[in-house]
């Protein structure tokens, strides 16, 4: 079920109402049933995968905990990893490896061609698999005691607000809240939850779905457009992916909050970042902290010799890129971000000197310049993330570098996209920037009335300018 569908607008208030009518001890049952229903509204048969994941990981975690022999603990831990990564491999990566292997065989003249698997990528598989993997790893490392209650554990895996696109929660935060679903709700939780839902819908329906029309058209056939078109399309994609994904996270976090559950913040205005490392502490926080804790630190993190540190960063970002999808473009995107960080570390002394010399007395100007440079770096990496293949990404970069050519084509695309769409898109983007700025300055949440006014404005804009086309969220494909 999509958040941006009429079904959800009926489903969620109904769940909320029943939740508060039911005695506390039955609430988890309601949430579990609702979560399965939510997922099955997409493809009922794929719920079997989640059930398998629940049962196997539940058993593995408890076995790891109760087992005294370290070799048996290790064996069961590996079994759990094998199952989780195997499931991801089969559904997400098999065809990628298969295609590349076939390509390799054809290049070397070996006449062998294995057929592709005809499988649909189950919605949210990367999210719930990573969530459950972190749980088993934490149990294995004695950081967490396993959950004995199968129902609560199942709810931890399937909790509907964050099931299909995160935030990827840690068991330590979520399970304890699900165990005790007492009425902890207060004015603050209701208002902030509702505010989050409204801003989430605004980002998705007013901005992301609108600019996606332009983005899709240009990325489908960049050869037909000028550099200026492509530059705008990449800018719109940067906006789209942020609004689409953070919009989803906002709706998820807001919905959970109305149910008395506090999920982690997944985005903190990432485009206001003044460096790439800051960007990664503000963008898809639940995933970046996952990779930090379960990939980067186990590799040695920064407590190693310098070259190994840089290597660890690159590897972590390559894996993060590959998590997003089985395509060379995602690997390239991960590599680019890893390289940004390494280059940032290599030149940090030089950067600081230049920064102090130029903007030592104008910190605000320095901040704005850094923000702009960070955005431009992220912007170029998005080209690889969205392009069909690496060649196309380079083609688009080349076109952007020659902005003033083929400008006669510009008129056609603007006419196709529509003047109205263009105007509304820019208006909504500016409104969002203003909102996030005021939020960061703690002006919006200062008083009840400032919250009421901003939320009402966003509601009016969303209801009158949003498009209820029920377009899927970008991160559902991951």
């Amino acid at each position: 079920m999509l958040f941006n569908s009429v079904q959800f607008l009926i489903f969620f208030p109904a769940v909320l109402l029943l939740f508060y009518l039911l005695p506390v001890r039955y609430r988890w049952v309601l949430l579990l049933v609702a979560s399965f229903y939510f997922y099955m509204a997409w493809k009922a048969e794929y719920v079997l995968l989640i059930i398998a994941s629940i049962l196997i990981n539940y058993w593995c975690a408890n076995e790891i905990h109760s087992s005294e022999s370290s070799s048996r603990r290790k064996f069961i831990f590996r079994l759990s990893l094998f199952f989780n990564l195997g499931m991801l491999f089969v559904f997400k990566y098999f065809n990628f490896f298969n295609d590349n292997l076939n390509e390799l065989f054809s290049l070397t003249g070996i006449g062998w061609n294995s057929p592709a698997a005809d499988l649909i990528l189950p919605m949210g598989i990367s999210f719930y698999t990573f969530q459950v993997m972190s749980y088993v790893i934490d149990v294995y490392k004695y950081n967490l005691k396993p959950e004995k209650h199968l129902g609560i554990f199942s709810l931890f895996v399937t909790f509907f607000p964050q099931l299909v696109a995160g935030p990827i929660e840690r068991a330590g935060n979520l399970i304890s809240q699900l165990r005790d679903l007492r009425n902890k709700i207060d004015n603050e939780a209701v208002i902030s939850g509702f505010q989050l839902i409204v801003i989430g819908f605004f980002k998705k329906l007013v901005i992301a779905d609108r600019v996606s029309v332009y983005v899709d058209r240009i990325f489908l056939y960049p050869e037909g457009y000028s550099g200026l078109h492509i530059a705008i399309a990449v800018f719109f994609f940067s906006v789209q992916i942020y609004c689409d994904f953070s919009g989803y996270s906002d709706i998820a976090t807001g919905s959970a909050r109305l149910l008395g559950v506090r999920l982690m913040d997944n985005f903190k205005s990432p485009y206001f970042s003044t460096s790439i490392s800051e960007f990664w502490s503000r963008w898809h926080i639940s995933l970046s902290t996952w990779f930090r804790d379960y990939v980067y630190i186990p590799l040695g993190g920064n407590r190693v010799v310098k070259w190994k540190w840089y290597y660890n960063l690159i590897i972590t970002f390559l894996v993060s890129g590959f998590w997003h999808g089985a395509n060379w473009t995602f690997l390239a995107w991960g590599f680019i971000h890893g390289s940004y960080l390494v280059l940032g570390l290599l030149f940090s002394g030089f950067n600081n000197k230049i920064g102090n010399a130029l903007f030592g007395k104008m910190p605000l100007a320095g901040k704005l310049i850094n923000m702009t440079i960070t955005f431009i770096l992220v912007y170029f990496a998005w080209i690889f993330f969205r392009a069909e293949n690496i060649g196309e990404a380079f083609f688009m970069i080349d076109k952007i570098m020659h902005l003033n050519e083929d400008l006669h084509l510009f008129e056609i695309a603007i006419a196709d996209f529509g003047v109205f769409s263009m105007m509304v898109s820019w208006f909504a983007i500016l409104l969002l920037v203003l909102y996030e700025f005021l939020l960061a300055k703690e002006i919006i949440n200062k008083s009840y009335y400032s919250r009421l006014i901003t939320t009402t404005i966003l509601t009016v804009v969303t209801l009158t300018l949003g498009e209820m086309g029920s377009k899927s969220f970008i991160y559902f494909q991951f």
């Binding site: 009429v6 207060d186 004015n187 529509g418 009421l452 939320t455 509601t459």
Partner: protein, 326 residues
């Protein structure tokens, strides 16, 4: 808790009131526009002018059949009811709406193409929402999309389904701004520009091979085809009930003369229509020079439309008008 409920109530109430106001304004704009998309349905639902020939079909019908040229050659007043993205679902709705306020046309030209038996969804559903109170429209759509049901019960909800072009048409109409030339309808007909420098540009040329692959394949899903055939049979029943002379036609598209998809579509439709007697076929499938006659892969420009309409009109003149005189 009172404070938080008040917060939600005020926000939602303001939102709902703004949607109601926006809906009222857009409805006003929609009902006075002559711009394609909505203008066509406006005319079909509200206007009561009678036409002897009614043309139905998709965007190819919309831009390939010039009603004035047909009238000039045959003497029969003609209206082009083609709709962008139109499918058999649309044709049934439009025919029903047309017949609600007028006597039946003498001749109905149904333009078929390579999509006719493959599309059983509604391409541009929101364009019908301004007319959702019309029982023919509601009944014709409700089985396909749940949103039709919701909108019928709370019409202002439709504001959230209108895409930008529709909203823009409504706003422009309210402000008294007319349609851009290329979207200006004339008896339902939209002329695609003949542009010597080429609307046919590098973009069209590059996508050509992909398009040719698409139409050089057999029909895809038998389920879809079955559903479309059912809709076609419903369409034939309406024609039979009002004793309308039906002409099944198709206009040339690039590569259409060699398309198995086209062959199969025409064969299946002919088979279904066979028992219906007042029926004539006129298929024009030959390949024509794309730079001279085409606007894009699947639509001719006005020069192509003129060429095709002239031949179609001559056929109607010979087979219907002169036969009637005899």
């Amino acid at each position: 808790m009172k404070k938080s409920f008040l917060f939600i109530a005020i926000t939602l109430l303001t939102g709902i009131l703004s949607v109601i106001a926006a809906d009222k304004l857009l409805q006003k704009g929609f009902h006075s526009t002559n711009e394609d998309v909505i203008g066509k349905l406006n005319e079909l639902m509200a206007d009561t002018s009678y036409y002897q020939v009614l043309c139905l079909g998709s965007s190819r019908c919309l831009s390939h059949i010039d009603p004035f040229l047909i009238q000039q050659i045959t003497g029969l007043s003609t209206y082009n009811g083609g709709l962008n993205g139109g499918t058999l679902i649309d044709y049934n709705i439009v025919l029903d709406a047309y017949l609600q306020k007028r006597k039946p046309p003498e001749v109905l030209i149904l333009h078929i193409d390579f999509m006719t038996l493959e599309k059983q969804n509604i391409s541009e559903l929101p364009r019908y929402f301004p007319f959702i109170s019309n029982p023919g429209v509601y009944n014709g759509l409700v089985d396909y999309e749940p949103s039709v049901y919701y909108v019928n019960h709370f019409p202002p909800l439709r504001v959230m389904y209108y895409y930008d072009l529709l909203k823009w048409i409504g706003i422009k109409s309210l402000a008294g701004i007319g349609a851009r030339n290329e979207w200006q309808m004339d008896r339902g007909f939209v002329r695609k520009k003949v542009n010597p420098n080429g609307n046919w540009n590098s973009y069209q040329e590059a996508g050509l091979s992909e398009y040719l692959r698409a139409i050089n394949r057999p029909l895809e899903s038998s389920q879809k085809v079955e559903k479309c055939i059912q809709l076609f049979s419903q369409f034939l029943k309406t024609c039979e009930k009002f004793n309308i002379q039906l002409v099944l036609t198709s206009s040339p598209v690039i590569g259409g003369d060699k398309s198995p998809l086209y062959d199969e579509t025409v064969r299946l439709m002919a088979e279904e229509a066979e028992p219906y007697k007042p029926l004539k076929f006129w298929m024009h499938r030959k390949d024509m020079d794309r730079r001279q006659y085409y606007f894009d892969h699947t639509h001719m420009n006005y020069q192509g439309a003129e060429y095709y309409t002239r031949e179609l009109a001559n056929f109607i003149e010979a087979e219907y008008v002169q036969a009637k005189r005899r």
